[in-house]
Symmetry: C2
Subunit: 247 residues, 2 copies
């Protein structure tokens, strides 16, 4: 299969990493809308407009599937993308809900949902988890984590102060949904803050789990063809991809 991976910026490379580790696809085309990142502070109508443009971009290639690596886009624009796409479109939110549900046996488990302002406002994770029978939810828009990670801060005083700011009254959860592709980069700091018993739900792993259940992906592709595109500064994206994905 030849697939497209869409993200608002570079964060979706954490999803590509999981795809590569599991050798699921023959060819992966990555598109990051780096000229208009971040989406997480934007309006629903704007997010949908940008997401539809991404589908149009992928029409330049004959792909079999679009994976939306961005939680904000997954939360708002999947239906609209599907309307204009000639191939299936799947998103990390539905995958994350499934992975959380599979990871927790007890429906009374406490789940902490983290995401950008837009993702949290969409209530996409909340609604999905309630449909799976989970009602013990804590929800936090942790928007500052995005610029903090983009400053390459993954631990230390600023992050500790941000944790205190956001999690002052947060009970230790059984599972934490890392509902933004930036958040896996502070997974260790979150684990240290909440303790080792909280399960972390990572979009990349969740999507792999979802793909393996949904599609017949028996063939392993050890050396998939990779292409990277960005709406701004593609060189920077390629260089980060090389570093993160060890290409």
């Amino acid at each position: 299969m030849k697939i497209g991976v869409f993200d608002s910026g570079i964060g979706g490379l954490t999803v590509v990493k999981s795809l590569l580790e599991n050798q699921l696809f023959e060819e992966i085309i990555y598109y990051g809308d780096t000229a208009r990142v971040p989406y997480g502070i934007k309006d629903k109508t704007t997010i949908i407009r940008y997401a539809i443009e991404a589908v149009e971009f992928f029409k330049n290639f004959e792909i079999d599937l679009i994976i939306v690596a961005c939680n904000t886009v997954s939360a708002y624009a999947l239906d609209e993308m599907r309307e204009v796409s000639s191939c299936p479109v799947i998103g990390v939110v539905e995958a994350g809900i499934l992975a959380t549900s599979n990871a927790l046996k007890d429906k009374n488990s406490n789940i902490l949902i983290l995401g950008t302002k837009a993702t949290i406002n969409s209530k996409a994770y909340e609604i999905g988890l309630k449909m799976e029978g989970f009602y013990n939810l804590q929800v936090k828009a942790t928007g500052l984590f995005v610029p903090i990670v983009e400053e390459e801060i993954y631990e230390g005083e600023i992050l500790d102060a941000a944790f205190k700011h956001y999690f002052n009254t947060t009970a230790t959860p059984n599972a934490i949904i890392l509902g933004c592709t930036h958040f896996p980069l502070i997974a260790q700091a979150l684990q240290n803050h909440f303790g080792k018993d909280s399960i972390l739900i990572h979009s990349g792993d969740a999507i792999v789990e979802y793909l393996e259940k949904t599609f017949n992906l028996n063939t392993k592709h050890k050396k998939p063809k990779l292409e990277f595109f960005a709406s701004e500064n593609p060189e920077a994206l390629k260089s980060i991809a090389k570093k993160w994905l060890k290409l």
Copy 2:
């Protein structure tokens, strides 16, 4: 005079506030590119492209002057805007340099330049201040201040941690250039951090000083006509404008 004020988002309202307080203009049209904010993390070519689109937007009105309230746009795109504009275009960077130069008698004064990554990378303030004879400069890209202010955090632990992160080795300056429209909102915190002797250079006041020197603005306009436009969520912009500008 009927003028246009351009900013990447809502921050430029701090400049409008200064214009209103000084009753300089008959009519002010504000345009914030809220759908694509923030500009400070973007590339030069992208910033120029967006800035030219803003000039095109103002062609819908018969204006006499465009004021660029955004430091990042002022640092990168003024020449390109002037090429496509039929009226003069002035920016907060040149105004800020002039205001700093006027405020400091001693050319050996130490000046701390704060701004977004893009503004700092442009070296616009550095080059301008050196041309004015100031060589004792400290330069800091303090990108995190933008999302912190947008979370409506103006004091407290996160900001203190960010100050420690950025100003660990920064000597107390004689003047601090608030080289981003978001930074006046943490002016008090910066003043507390560096002490009362550091002069703060505010883009809004600087542009007023610049305008009064450059144009013949003798008539006072007590009740100027105001119009607000945004590329996304104009209602939110108008509601913030009402609050900030006490309309």
